[in-house]
């Protein structure tokens, strides 16, 4: 694997963006440090996907500066794999920058070892379950020279139990292959179990309501005290506790 000497990171400085007359982001500042796992939560339509699109360079901001150091890859909610390629060919896409075929084969094998999908190497994505597809997509994003992963609700199309498993899976994969991650989710449990830092966003026009550091070691169980406390704090910020509603 490649040696990461410089601090790969993402930087949003005073970024604003509007769609037509509708301001979506206003004066947003965000720094993501190398190796950090940042989770973004916030109400639907507040601009989470928009932030990831800005970070990946897919859209340009109206105002402000964005900088990224390193190779950025996005993991989507679903259907990010190419349906005309087998699982193995899909994952090999992530190894395109490796020139040496032997090394590429070795890398591919080690990725398959990592995600436990050997038996489905030559299957096509439509022959896999949703969870298996997401694991394959994760492997593709982790392959080769990637530095930064942007994940847009990557587990939200999965059933609850698969989702719980995928969280541990992701932690395990990142332990083996550390990356800088920006992870968007609606799932507060997910945020509390995975994040080094949680950003709670406001409604549009969007600003960061609160930043929450969670320093407990990973993997974390859903019932760990730190996780429960973090969930409570996020819910409080989002105004979804009984004293706000009932």
């Amino acid at each position: 694997m490649k040696d990461k000497k410089y601090a790969h990171r993402l930087l949003l400085q005073n970024v604003s963006l509007s769609y037509g007359a509708m301001p979506v982001l206003q004066h947003l500042n965000l720094t993501v440090h190398s190796g950090e796992f940042v989770v973004i939560v916030g109400p639907s339509g507040c601009g989470k996907t928009t932030i990831l699109n800005l970070l990946s360079g897919h859209i340009k901001p109206g105002l402000g500066v964005i900088s990224r150091e390193g190779v950025v890859r996005t993991v989507y909610q679903q259907d990010g794999l190419f349906p005309w390629l087998t699982v193995s060919e899909n994952i090999s896409m992530g190894l395109r920058s490796l020139k040496d075929a032997v090394q590429r084969e070795k890398e591919l094998q080690s990725l398959f070892d990592l995600i436990h999908l050997e038996d489905f190497k030559n299957h096509y994505p439509h022959e896999l379950s949703g969870g298996m597809r997401q694991r394959a997509e994760l492997a593709r994003a982790l392959a080769g020279d990637s530095d930064i992963l942007l994940m847009d609700e990557p587990f939200s199309a999965l059933d609850y139990q698969t989702r719980l498993r995928m969280r541990y899976e992701l932690v395990r994969l990142l332990e083996k292959r550390p990356r800088t991650v920006v992870f968007v989710t609606h799932d507060i449990e997910e945020a509390a179990q995975l994040a080094d830092r949680v950003l709670v966003l406001s409604k549009r026009p969007t600003t960061i309501l609160q930043e929450l550091q969670i320093s407990a070691p990973k993997p974390r169980d859903l019932t760990d005290n730190e996780v429960i406390n973090a969930m409570k704090e996020i819910l409080e910020r989002l105004g979804i506790l009984k004293e706000n509603i009932v």
Binding site: T74, F82, G94, H116, F120, M132
Partner: protein
């Protein structure tokens, strides 16, 4: 870790599909055979009760007899080869030009805006309307027929490929960008495979059109071919021979379509038909 029961699921699904398939298998063969015999019976009755004058209504027996004659004389085989050749040339020509044009139009909005009205106009123009031009430009022989097939299939094919490209989910191009697919490689490794299932369907449709057009085209511009055979039979009041040619046209058309259908079974495109 999570591959716990995935294999079992896949295996059991396949087994179930196989079971349903087996149960339906005999019906797929037997039912059409029953229909076939009913049609023959109706035909026989039409002849027997003299619904149409006998010179205009050949009996099944007469058709079988003329079938034997046409094979013996070598005419039928000769006409089949002639028609197949013209269809093959016209069809390949329109695929070789129509697919790239469709890919190009699908990717460039400006080009699409410029050419879409022309394509739609040409699509609704019956290819038979080109017959006078075909004959005056290319005289007789293979060329006018090939030209007519090209005119009949190029436009619908290019349009089908174009709209397939225009509706490729944006996510594929975003993924492609993440993994550094650019330029020619983007077209061959992303755009083309993404629309291949629809291209195969469009090719089947085009082939169906060419097979229909060839019969009409050969009635005017040719000295051989299956369409010419029917025209000859009409002129000689040999409707038994005409019916025999019709049967051959239908069977050949069906057979080749069956062959083209096999392309939709290759693994790289299966996904496109399973949603």
């Amino acid at each position: 870790m999570a591959s716990f029961n995935a294999e079992e699921t896949l295996a059991s699904v396949k087994k179930k599909q196989a079971a349903t398939y087996k149960g339906n298998r005999w019906r797929v063969f037997v039912l059409p055979v029953i229909v076939f015999f009913i049609i023959i019976l109706i035909w026989y009755c039409l002849v027997h009760f003299n619904i149409f004058p006998s010179y205009a209504m050949p009996s099944p027996g007469a058709v079988v007899k003329s079938f034997r004659e046409d094979i013996m004389s070598g005419n039928l085989l000769n006409d089949m080869v002639a028609s197949l050749w013209r269809v093959a040339v016209g069809f390949i020509l329109s695929a070789v030009l129509g697919i790239p044009v469709g890919l190009w139009l699908g990717q460039h909005i400006t080009a699409r805006q410029a050419f879409l009205p022309l394509l739609n106009f040409a699509r609704f123009l019956s290819p038979l309307a080109w017959i006078p031009f075909a004959i005056l430009w290319f005289h007789i022989g293979d060329k006018p027929a090939v030209f007519l097939i090209f005119m009949a299939t190029f436009f619908p094919l290019a349009l089908a490929v174009m709209s397939a490209v225009a509706t490729i989910p944006a996510i594929y191009f975003r993924v492609a960008k993440d993994y550094n697919y650019k330029g020619f490689e983007l077209i061959t490794k992303v755009t083309f495979p993404a629309v291949l299932p629809q291209i195969i369907t469009a090719l089947r449709v085009s082939y169906g059109i060419s097979w229909i057009v060839i019969v009409a085209a050969e009635m005017v511009g040719c000295q051989d071919g299956l369409g010419y055979g029917i025209w000859e039979a009409r002129n000689g009041l040999r409707l038994d021979s005409a019916a025999c040619y019709m049967i051959v046209i239908g069977l050949l058309g069906m057979g080749i379509d069956r062959f083209l259908l096999q392309f939709s079974k290759i693994p790289k495109v299966r996904w496109g038909y399973e949603r």
